[in-house]
């Protein structure tokens, strides 16, 4: 099973009582606001879920795996996600449940 925007929109329609259009727009806006914050260099902290942070990576040497040719991997800014302690323990709790 995979959770997608469609399922999230269904949930907002059923549980929050938004109409179908609003539910779809709300899901889109939720991820767009997170992208906007990250785009302007602002990390995003969603308590209970996790934090999205930005990391500036310096240039480093790389290689074209096909040709073996050396090409530098340019400096770049990347997004990292750190799950909250709450989310991590929820995941571990489920795993323990499957073990017993």
């Amino acid at each position: 099973m995979t959770l997608t925007k469609a399922e999230l929109a269904d949930l907002l329609f059923e549980k929050v009582g938004l109409n179908k259009r609003e539910a779809k727009d709300m899901v889109e806006a939720f991820f767009e606001e997170i992208r906007n914050a990250l785009e302007r260099g602002d990390g995003v902290k969603l308590s209970g879920f996790g934090n999205f942070q930005l990391r500036d990576k310096p240039q480093r040497p790389g290689r074209n795996p096909k040709t073996g040719e050396e090409i530098p991997i340019t400096a770049r800014r990347v997004v990292t996600f750190h799950a909250s302690q709450k989310l991590k323990s929820e995941v571990e709790e489920f795993y323990r449940g499957t073990q017993s």
């Binding site: 959770l3 925007k5 799950a83 989310l87 709790e93």
Partner: protein, 95 residues
């Protein structure tokens, strides 16, 4: 940006809704996402990224204080991979 700032921004985008709806919607979405991961499901949001669980095999670790060996059991940890649009928008050097 915190969760409450995100909720405030969404409330501005949806003036026809009461502020509490944006608040409830954000909580519902985050709960659904946590729940999906907690039961081992993936989350795939086109243009944003995907969340999945990564496996960590059991290993022998050390208590950093005493130096004693401790066995760390195998576990699953949440992992996020940014999607193409997010990667490109965040990488300012790219634009």
């Amino acid at each position: 940006m915190t969760k409450s700032e995100l909720i405030a921004r969404l409330a501005v985008r949806f003036p026809q809704l009461v502020a509490k709806d944006a608040d409830f919607a954000v909580k519902m979405m985050l709960d659904a996402m946590s729940e999906a991961l907690a039961k081992g499901d993936r989350i795939e949001i086109r243009g944003f990224g995907s969340f999945a669980l990564n496996y960590r095999p059991p290993r022998v670790g050390r208590n950093p204080k005493s130096g004693d060996k401790v066995s760390v059991p195998e576990k699953w940890v949440p992992h996020f991979k940014a999607g193409k649009e997010l990667r490109e928008r965040v990488d300012t050097a790219d634009s």
